[in-house]
């Protein structure tokens, strides 16, 4: 039986999604990385949909509270709408955090951009068992004894049997009181997808360009993550030379040297060869640059690496060219004229508004 509330819940969700959809664009263009709690949940502050009424603003009215504190001391806690004895009618600011899992977030984005689902290649995702301590047992090793539970049991028993004396509270656990933490085995996915982000950090890439890359890669991450149980991300920065770096460095480094793109492609090739055998891994490569490359045959070297090593290995190779005042933007044209492959996607990102179409271009192939 479909429960009645389902209809109302769906209806509310549609409305909220309507809001989030509008907000989605705002979040992206503002370059706001939505607060990420742990690994699984993003929380988006969404104004609770509150029907307007003639009412006072809470700031003007204040209220009555209970507890310790000097005059002038701030009262803690979120000042929600539940005031004294006014069934939800107290004036209050309603900001509600709607928590969405990354999965839901990706769904919404996928719907909005009409992205096809990714078809993973290779074996089904691998899992490995992992122990999680979630339960309580009556038997176990002493090292796992739960002090609190044991104490509670002993207290309960003593009170029930009348041994407990509140004036001399002495709790002595006996064998039946002992409680132990116990574990459960959960399958945890082993990563079988890898994203390698490469970015040109030469002098011509400014903060604005990096911000665009940062935002775009977050959303690409979110989408691909939704299709694989495990996902590894690697970051490469390059000017005339390439280095592998951590996430933080990737987005913040600024060099001033020249640009040799082939250095990054070479490093990516090495990385793949070493850590990610292609027959088991789904490989995603993204390269962001302003399109300026050194002469001296470096372009040709890039084409060769792409053609022979990277394109055959990857599910997708995305090249995003961020417009900058200093870059010539030549590389995109060269790629266009020299290479064509089904899994090579080129995209030009003029400004922040172009992020969404660019994501669509990258992910629109369902690779």
């Amino acid at each position: 039986m479909v429960r009645r509330i389902e209809r109302d819940r769906r209806r509310f969700e549609e409305i909220v999604r309507g809001r989030i959809k509008q907000d989605l664009k705002r979040h992206i263009t503002r370059g706001e990385l939505i607060g990420r709690k742990g690994n699984e949940i993003v929380s988006i502050p969404v104004p609770q949909i509150e029907l307007p009424h003639f009412r006072y603003g809470r700031r003007e009215t204040g209220g009555v509270g209970q507890g310790e504190g000097e005059i002038g001391q701030p009262i803690g806690g979120s000042q929600g709408d539940e005031g004294a004895g006014q069934a939800g009618d107290a004036p209050g600011q309603h900001i509600r955090e709607v928590e969405l899992t990354i999965q839901e977030m990706a769904e919404i984005m996928g719907e909005e951009l009409e992205l096809p689902r990714i078809q993973p290649k290779g074996s089904k995702s691998l899992t490995t068992p992992k122990n999680r301590y979630t339960g309580i047992k009556r038997a176990g090793p002493e090292s796992l004894r739960s002090f609190k539970r044991t104490y509670k049991e002993a207290l309960k028993r003593q009170i029930a049997s009348g041994v407990y004396d509140p004036r001399r509270p002495r709790i002595v656990p006996v064998r039946e009181d002992l409680r132990y933490r116990s574990y459960q085995q959960d399958p945890v996915a082993v990563a079988n997808a890898v994203i390698v982000y490469m970015m040109d950090v030469s002098g011509s890439m400014g903060n604005e360009q990096k911000e665009i890359v940062r935002v775009e890669s977050f959303w690409i991450d979110t989408w691909i993550r939704a299709h694989y149980d495990g996902l590894v991300t690697r970051y490469i920065i390059h000017d005339a030379q390439a280095h592998e770096v951590d996430r933080e460095t990737f987005y913040t480094t600024r060099e001033s040297g020249g640009t040799r793109i082939s250095s990054a492609y070479q490093l990516a090739t090495d990385l793949l060869a070493q850590d990610y055998p292609t027959d088991e891994w789904n490989v995603y490569l993204f390269h962001f640059s302003d399109g300026d490359n050194w002469g001296g045959g470096d372009d040709e070297r890039c084409f060769q690496l792409l053609q022979e090593r990277l394109l055959p290995a990857a599910n997708l190779f995305g090249y995003g060219q961020v417009e900058s005042r200093y870059g010539s933007g030549q590389f995109l044209h060269s790629l266009e004229s020299h290479l064509s492959a089904e899994n090579l996607v080129l995209s030009r990102i003029e400004d922040r508004d172009a992020i969404l179409p660019s994501i669509k271009a990258f992910l629109g192939k369902g690779k």
Partner: protein, 495 residues
């Protein structure tokens, strides 16, 4: 899903209700339903009813409840519906001691619903009422489309606080509308011989009388003759609505009146139920091994949430305070005039009238009069009540006062008219152009402006003609207007 009580719970119910009746509680028959957490959240989202009209805000509440239950933030312990028989719900997964606590608590609510004057005029067959409303709204949705009906519901709900909370108890004026035009009223002349006439009925007096009559007639023919607090009723009777639209507005209004008493007795009602569950549990029902779990849950419900008042706690303590005062004779002139600390501390006349007093109070008061009469300076000091206000410099709410007078005043302000602005229809034919004027009785606290504008739009969509709101913005009298297209706001002179 099995909803009936298990034999064990049924025995328990009989036992607990027996104890409750021993203490003088009196309630309608109580019917329990045992639900799993999804079901109980659904019923809670519908305000305690298994069937309500479809609306997204129920879905919103449901989403919030399920999430906070799933994350372990909150759990619904008890839910009870003012109806005859009284319906109450138990969460299937709850521990037996919790079920006992809920049943004892529900006896308190049941007694309060049956005996407090605020509920005297509520529909005791609302279970059926709600189901009827749901069926009608669904039928309109089938006929006129979900979106259209839901939009109308949004509008009606946006003004569901514009009702006259005292209306069920007071007949303010006859509702028969004046239909025929009244001839001009003329002053009555005293009988006099013709030559005496100018003495007995002097010209000036007649003129003054005529003016007075004209004024009275103008006032009576004013539309509406008296300011109408029940704005929903006014719209119901006078707005150009289609029949189904009128019905939907009527449904929302009826439910608003039905729920109002629960909001207006929240402190008393929750306090009363808590008083009784704690009395019954600790003196009669609990077995020794249940004590800790009971104490844990009882203190959980009583905990004040971060800085603000918990109606359960405030209510419970006030009931206990009243009982103690009347037990020890701490009331009346002699007590009030005594200002020796020593003497007050030891004051005990041994009257033991407490129980009788609280039963009397639970019948005749609502939160407003309850606080007004029984909140004492001693109580405020003992329980650490304070007022808080917004500090615009630090951007935080800060404790502003611990003085008895200030606390009481603030509490009363929050309880008067539900802590909401007093808005009434003052003119239904403004400028003789069929425009509607709502008046806000200003008490020094301004309306939340963005909301006021949106609400005005909703009123306009029902009234169809332009609508106005007389209020104050930044302590200046203003007339806010919405004509269906744009908002204007102009200075007005007090009239």
């Amino acid at each position: 899903m099995q909803h009936e009580l298990t034999p064990e719970l049924r025995t328990l119910q009989a036992e607990i209700e027996g104890h409750a009746r021993d203490h003088g509680l009196d309630f309608f028959e109580i019917v329990y339903q045992v639900l799993d957490w999804e079901e109980i959240n659904e019923v809670a989202a519908y305000g305690g009813y298994p069937v309500r009209y479809p609306h997204w805000r129920h879905g919103m509440q449901y989403t919030e409840l399920s999430r906070s239950y799933a994350y372990g933030l909150s759990k619904i312990y008890e839910m009870v519906v003012n109806n005859d028989p009284t319906y109450a719900y138990l969460l299937a997964a709850n521990h037996l001691v919790d079920q006992k606590l809920v049943m004892a608590h529900v006896c308190g609510h049941g007694d309060f619903f049956k005996h407090n004057f605020s509920f005297a005029h509520t529909n005791r067959k609302m279970m059926d009422g709600m189901a009827n409303h749901a069926a009608r709204v669904r039928r309109y949705m089938e006929r006129h489309g979900e979106d259209e009906v839901e939009r109308l519901l949004d509008r009606c709900l946006s003004i569901d606080n514009l009702i006259d909370y005292n209306a069920p108890h007071i007949k303010r004026h006859p509702s028969v509308p004046q239909t025929t035009e009244e001839p001009r009223r003329a002053p009555r002349k005293l009988r006099a011989k013709q030559y005496m006439d100018s003495y007995i009925n002097p010209e000036a007096a007649l003129e003054a009388e005529q003016e007075r009559l004209d004024e009275a007639q103008r006032r009576d023919e004013h539309f509406p003759p008296h300011p109408e607090k029940d704005v929903m009723l006014f719209l119901l009777e006078h707005a150009p609505l289609k029949n189904w639209e009128r019905d939907v507005l009527g449904i929302v209004r009826e439910e608003a009146y039905y729920f109002a008493p629960q909001g207006r007795t929240k402190i008393m009602n929750e306090g009363w139920a808590s008083y009784w569950h704690s009395t019954l549990m600790t003196t009669r029902i609990l077995t020794p091994d249940e004590f800790i779990d009971y104490a844990d849950h009882h203190s959980g419900t009583m905990a004040p949430y971060a800085g603000s008042l918990n109606p359960y706690k405030l209510g419970l303590e006030l009931w206990r305070d009243i009982e103690e005062r009347w037990n020890k004779g701490r009331y009346g002139a002699a007590w009030d005039e005594c200002d020796s600390y020593q003497e007050r501390q030891g004051w005990d006349t041994g009257e033991m009238k407490g129980r009788g007093k609280i039963f009397e109070v639970r019948r005749h008061y609502n939160d407003l009069t309850f606080i007004d009469e029984f909140l004492t300076a001693d109580f405020v000091r003992k329980h650490g009540l304070f007022t808080y206000e917004f500090n615009p410099i630090s951007g935080e709410y800060v404790i502003s006062d611990r003085d008895f007078g200030a606390v009481k005043e603030k509490l009363l302000f929050q309880l008067t008219n539900f802590g909401q602005p007093w808005i009434e229809v003052t003119d239904g034919n403004f400028l003789n152009r069929g425009e509607l004027v709502l008046g806000h009785r200003y008490e020094g606290v301004p309306l939340k402006l963005d909301f006021a504008r949106e609400t005005l739009e909703n009123v306009q969509s029902l009234w169809k003609r332009p609508v106005h709101l007389e209020t104050y913005i930044e302590d200046e009298p203003r007339l806010m207007s919405y004509d269906g297209e744009e908002h204007t706001s102009e200075k007005r002179t007090e009239g």
